[in-house]
């Protein structure tokens, strides 16, 4: 469908007619600032189609303030190569005329035809709203509504369904049919009452499940209680039976009887045992006595043997004593010899020592004498040196010269020398060569002959017969020097005076001399020290001491000689051994003496012991001998023998009796009898106790059963089972219902999905084509209601998904437009009119996007007529169309 002409009159701001002619088949761009009437134009087109001509609620179409106006719109368009004309007037003299190739239609009929053609509907009453606008509502984008496309699709879905004829239309119909959705929702709701989204029981189903498990548990417990009850009843029956059978017989009495019998037997045996014990005791006594007697006889024998032994012992002792005594003399002699030898050795040693002592002293004395002489010599020398040293020191003192002064003097002289030289250099040289006999007087000085003089000061040279020459040497320096020289000379003289010398040479001579003396002094000092390191005085005292010692020793020696002379010479000196030898000899002698003394002591000890031994042996033998010969011994021996015999007889008798009784006892088996008694007694007690316990248990059971019985356990249990089965039935029912709803829901969704997919494909194809111009490789998914849903963009290898609602405003605008264009393509394929109106549709585009959108619009315009309204014609220069200025249009009409 292509609009060719629009005309409006008395329509909002257009109080006078506005006409737009020559609309193009593709893009038509209308530009103008705000308030220039762009939206009014759009409003007019919309009113022409959407509003009933008879509607009374359209006052806003009138120009402001003119309530008598009758807004008019007339359109001319082509559709399927036929010309159509629509004229409508609102509010006053209302009319609607539709002229088509196949006739005219008026009023409501015309409007129905329009609605059928474009795919929208009229409201029942009142103004037209979004839900009525159908397909044009989708394709004619209002200001600020471009980004919201989902609702528009929703409103248009039924029309889309009938417009997209054939399988597509059907599919769309089913998919977007409210009935189908409502059904699915209903099923979902019903299912939600029983199952959660993940298929778990909820609501009634879960309650039923829980009730079942609770009741099962309760039933089980009751069942158990019943069983326990029944078990108790059975037990009661058993116990009663036992009571009757067993207790009536009173079995414990039999046991007691048997216990008593066993007891009697036991007592009999015990008597025997007592007797046995007694006789055993007697037997033991007899045996003990036997032992004693035997022992006695043994003792007698032993004694006789002992006497023999003692006799032998005595003899041995006697022998030993004799031997010992024999050794006596030898030992004594040895001792005496040893003593004598020792004394001799000792005397020789003393003598040797004395001799040595005297010899030592003598040599010492001689040595000292030599030392004394030496010391005296040294002392004399040292004294000499000391004296000379003193002399030298005095001399030196005389010659001493103050070094400092000397130094200064030397310096002075040197400076003077230097000065002189300077003077000479500076001085005026006066050379003269006088003729023979001539003379000149230079100051006081008479010059003659040849020579040279230096003039350091003004000088007067008088030439006799000529006059006087005054010569002033040049420079202040000269005077300076002269002064300096004088100064120095004064200084020098002072120094010479100080030093007490005539001149420097003398001073130096004196210094040199003093030095020499010093050196000599040093040499002498050295020699003195060599002789007497500690000083002469020390040397003198040393000498003195040595002399004293020597004299002392001489006195001592004299004494010794005296003494020696008093003693007899004993032996010749040559025979005298050395001290060492004598000491050694003494040592040996001492050792021999010691051993001889030891031997003697031992011998005496041995002797004494032997004597003692003999005495003891003798005594012992005597005792025993006496004893054995005592009277009555024989008799006692014999008595013992007899007694022994008697006892033996008795013993045999007793042994026999014991054996016999023991046999009887063993036969009776007293242990076993004792056990029997215990056993029977315990059995009796156990039986009685058992009976009592049973009685008690019976009583208890009866009480408990009576109490429990009052509960009506089986009745309760059966009631519980009833409720359980009822609940289980309900649960099964609900479960089946839940499963059925689940299956139903799944199938419904599956089938619906299958249908949706069939329709999504062509829509997707158109969307992708446009999208590739904006985001290469991107995809815009549509949901089951064929509304655009998610934008998937490749982003450096990954996919970036964004719900439409989450995109930026600008992006939503663009997606909105693309979706509408895709729908338009679908509709065109289905042979339906597709007029597109964009009122300020892309306001939030950056430059790049705008360029892309421009391409898209251009592409779409190849297929559809697009009326585009904008405030910014400069943005759309690339569209390839010249924008129509609103004010131009206004002005033109």
């Amino acid at each position: 469908m292509k609009l060719s002409r629009i005309r409006l009159n008395q329509f909002q701001q257009f109080r006078t007619p506005l006409e737009v002619n020559d609309l193009g088949d593709g893009l038509n761009l209308f530009a103008g600032p705000n308030e220039s009437g762009k939206s009014t134009l759009v409003r007019a087109i919309r009113a022409a189609f959407f509003e009933r001509h008879r509607s009374t609620s359209l006052a806003e179409l009138q120009p402001w303030g003119d309530s008598s106006a009758a807004p008019e719109v007339s359109l001319a368009f082509t559709w399927q190569e036929q010309e159509w004309r629509l004229e409508k007037r609102f509010l006053k003299r209302q009319r609607c005329d539709l002229v088509a190739a196949d006739g005219r239609l008026n009023g409501d009929e015309a409007e129905e035809r329009l609605a059928e053609l474009l795919g929208f509907q009229f409201p029942g009453r009142g103004a037209s709203k979004a839900e009525h606008w159908g397909i044009p509502g989708l394709l004619w984008v209002e200001q600020g509504a471009g980004q919201e496309v989902r609702d528009a699709v929703g409103h248009a879905s039924e029309h889309l369904q009938s417009a997209l004829a054939g399988s597509l239309g059907e599919a769309l119909g089913e998919v977007t049919s409210s009935a189908g959705d409502a059904l699915i929702q209903q099923v979902e709701r019903e299912r939600g009452r029983l199952l959660t989204a993940t298929g778990k029981p909820t609501g009634d189903l879960r309650e039923a499940q829980q009730a079942c498990s609770t009741l099962e548990e309760e039933h089980r417990q009751l069942e158990e209680a019943v069983k326990r009850y029944q078990a108790s009843v059975d037990r009661l029956g058993e116990l009663r039976k036992q009571q009757q059978e067993v207790d009536a017989a009173r079995p414990w009495e039999a046991q007691r009887e048997r216990a008593r019998a066993a007891q009697a037997q036991l007592e009999a045996v015990e008597t025997l045992q007592a007797q046995q014990a007694q006789e055993r005791y007697d037997l033991a006594g007899i045996q003990r006595q036997q032992g004693l007697y035997r022992q006695q006889l043994q003792d007698f024998e032993a004694q006789e043997q002992q006497l023999e032994k003692r006799q032998r012992a005595k003899e041995k002792a006697q022998q030993e004593l004799a031997t010992c005594q024999g050794n006596d003399d030898a030992v004594r002699q040895r001792l005496a010899q040893a003593n004598a030898a020792y004394d001799e050795a000792n005397a020789r040693l003393t003598t040797a020592r004395q001799r040595d002592h005297r010899q030592n002293r003598q040599s010492e004395h001689d040595q000292l004498a030599k030392q004394v002489a030496q010391l005296a010599d040294t002392l004399t020398q040292a004294r000499e040196r000391r004296d000379s040293l003193q002399q030298l020191a005095e001399q030196q003192q005389a010659q001493a010269v103050d070094d400092k002064a000397l130094g200064k003097l030397q310096q002075c002289e040197a400076e003077l020398g230097k000065l002189t030289a300077q003077q000479q250099a500076l001085a005026t040289r006066l050379g003269y060569t006088l003729e023979e006999g001539q003379q000149l007087a230079l100051g006081d000085q008479m010059l003659s002959g040849e020579g040279e003089t230096l003039l350091l000061a003004e000088a007067e040279l008088s030439i006799p017969g000529v006059g006087r020459l005054t010569i002033q040497p040049g420079g202040t320096d000269v005077a300076d020097l002269r002064r300096h020289q004088q100064r120095l000379e004064t200084e020098r003289d002072a120094l010479l005076q100080q030093l007490g010398v005539a001149d420097l040479a003398a001073a130096e001579e004196r210094a040199r001399r003093a030095n020499e003396l010093e050196q000599e002094k040093q040499r002498t000092l050295a020699r003195l020290e060599g002789l007497a390191p500690e000083g002469v005085d020390a040397l003198e005292s040393e000498h003195r001491l040595a002399v004293q010692r020597r004299d002392r020793l001489a006195a001592e020696l004299a004494q010794l000689a005296e003494r020696e002379g008093a003693q007899p010479e004993g032996e010749a000196s040559a025979d005298l051994p050395s001290v060492a030898q004598a000491e050694a000899a003494l040592g040996h002698a001492g050792q021999a003496l010691t051993s001889a003394e030891q031997a003697e002591v031992e011998h005496r000890q041995a002797l004494s012991l032997a004597k003692q031994a003999l005495a003891a042996a003798q005594a012992e033998w005597q005792i025993l001998h006496d004893e054995l010969n005592a009277p009555g011994r024989q008799q006692r021996q014999q008595d013992a023998r007899d007694a022994l015999t008697d006892l033996k007889v008795e013993e045999e008798r007793l042994t026999a009796t014991l054996k016999d009784r023991q046999r009887r006892i063993d036969a009776a088996n007293p242990e076993l009898l004792a056990q029997d008694v215990a056993r029977f007694t315990q059995a009796a007690e156990a039986l009685q106790r058992h009976a009592q316990e049973r009685d008690a248990e019976i009583t208890q059971l009866k009480i408990r059963l009576e109490t429990l019985g009052a509960n009506g356990l089986e009745e309760q249990r059966d009631e519980k089972r009833q409720r359980l089965e009822e609940n289980q039935r309900r649960y099964d029912q609900l479960q089946r219902r839940g499963a059925a709803l689940d299956m139903l829901l799944t199938l419904l969704k599956e089938q619906r999905q299958a249908v949706t997919v069939r329709l999504q494909a062509p829509l997707q194809k158109h969307l992708s084509r446009y999208l590739s111009l904006l985001f290469p490789g991107a995809e815009l998914t549509v949901d089951e209601a064929l509304k655009p849903e998610t934008l998937i963009r490749p982003d450096s290898g990954q996919e970036e998904r964004g719900d439409l609602a989450a995109l930026s405003f600008g992006a939503r605008e663009q997606m909105g437009l693309i979706s509408r264009l895709a729908y338009a393509d679908l509709l065109q394929e289905a042979g339906r009119p597709t007029l597109i109106i964009l009122d300020d549709a892309l306001v939030h585009c950056d430059r790049i996007r705008r360029e892309q959108m421009t391409r898209i619009l251009f592409d779409a315009a190849q297929r559809h007529q697009i009326l585009m309204f904008t405030c910014h014609p400069e943005n759309w220069q690339d569209l390839g169309v010249i924008p129509r200025e609103m004010h131009a249009l206004t002005a033109a009409t």
Partner: protein, 379 residues
């Protein structure tokens, strides 16, 4: 000439857990009213005694209320009620009888024969030979002692026992307490009144099972009756007369629905059943939606007419016809869903769920407003 009412197996306290609670309560109540009717019958017929051959109570530990109610139901007949314990209410060391006695529920005209020894009722000319059960299970013939028991010559010898007669097909008999098939003869009994078999059954001229006075299971064995026994004197042949006592017939039906006429036949049959029955209906085959609806309606009505109606339709498939589907306006993918559900009813294991799903869908579709594209849009 003594006349008795012979009954047994009252099973007081039996719970019917497979029924809806209301029905279960009513059925339990029916057991008491049956006893009341027995008492009334006994009085009307002026019998000399009522013989109750065991299993008066269904369990040992019933509530006191139940015990009281039971014995009070006997009040309609003031003559002797002669009872023995059966296997459900055996006379154990502690039993329902000891409890009843303890709480003083047993009236004087109730004679509880708890030991196997002759009891004389001279005033009515009867010597009773009871074989009471004193254990939960007995495997020996408790009536054996009858053969050697002596009774005074003028009195009629009546045996009262509870167990299964040897040699009979023992289907459905509860306990394994054997009774010799020729006991009446070998013990020279004039009549042997038996209990344990819940249906009416004759063993020989003098040996009968009376069955339970109110039917309590789906077995067509003559339950719900009591026996009037008339004896002319010792040695005479007894005259036996069965009387209906029970209120509710228990009927189990299993029907196949393949063609529409099957449904008609079933509905007619339902109509013809005696009212206040206990019905168990098992249906197999398939129905279309219209038939389904008809069936539902008929079953609803039947449920109102009877004591209880339970229907098992797990073997019944729902097979909507093309008309059905069209009537539902199930177009497009909804139609596919219906087809798929039909297919799944053939798959074992999914049959019931698919059927139910289809039923739900059909229900939802039929109750929604028919879609009109031109009406107030909702998209």
């Amino acid at each position: 000439m003594p006349r008795f009412l012979h009954t047994a197996d009252w099973q007081i306290g039996r719970q019917y857990s497979r029924f809806e609670p209301d029905d279960a309560v009513a059925l339990a109540e029916a057991r008491f009213t049956a006893v009341e009717r027995l008492a009334r019958l006994a009085t009307e017929e002026s019998v000399d005694a009522v013989l109750v051959a065991g299993d008066i109570f269904d369990a040992q530990t019933l509530s006191e209320r139940t015990l009281h109610r039971t014995f009070q139901a006997l009040s309609g007949f003031s003559g002797p009620w002669i009872m023995i314990p059966g296997n459900h209410d055996a006379a154990l060391a502690e039993s329902v009888w000891t409890r009843a006695r303890r709480i003083g529920a047993i009236p004087d005209n109730v004679h509880l024969l708890l030991s196997p020894e002759v009891v004389l009722f001279e005033e009515i000319g009867v010597a009773m030979l009871p074989a009471p059960l004193t254990q939960r299970q007995t495997h020996r013939d408790l009536t054996a002692w009858f053969d050697a028991a002596e009774t005074p010559s003028g009195l009629v010898r009546i045996g009262l026992a509870h167990g299964s007669v040897e040699g009979q097909l023992a289907e459905g008999i509860d306990a394994s307490n054997p009774i010799a098939a020729d006991r009446a003869t070998s013990a020279r009994l004039d009549y042997l009144a038996l209990g344990d078999w819940h249906g009416l059954k004759q063993i020989d001229e003098r040996t009968w099972y009376s069955g339970t006075p109110e039917q309590e299971r789906f077995k067509d064995n003559g339950a719900g009756q009591a026996l009037m026994v008339a004896l002319n004197g010792p040695g005479a042949e007894p005259r036996i007369d069965a009387r209906q006592v029970g209120q509710h017939a228990w009927i189990a039906l299993k029907r196949q629905l393949s063609v529409p006429s099957d449904l008609d036949a079933l509905l007619a049959e339902l109509e013809a059943l005696p009212p206040m029955s206990v019905l168990d209906l098992t249906l197999q085959g398939q129905l279309d939606l219209a038939a389904q609806q008809r069936l539902e309606q008929a079953l609803g009505a039947a449920a109102g007419r009877h004591r209880s109606l339970q229907v098992d339709m797990t073997g019944l498939a729902l097979a909507p016809t093309a008309d059905d589907i069209a009537a539902l306006h199930a177009d497009g993918y909804l139609g596919n869903v219906i087809t798929e559900l039909q297919r799944r009813q053939e798959v074992e294991g999914e049959r019931e769920v698919a059927r139910e799903a289809l039923g739900i869908l059909a229900g939802m579709l039929s109750t929604r407003r028919p879609a009109n594209h031109r009406e107030a849009p909702q998209g």
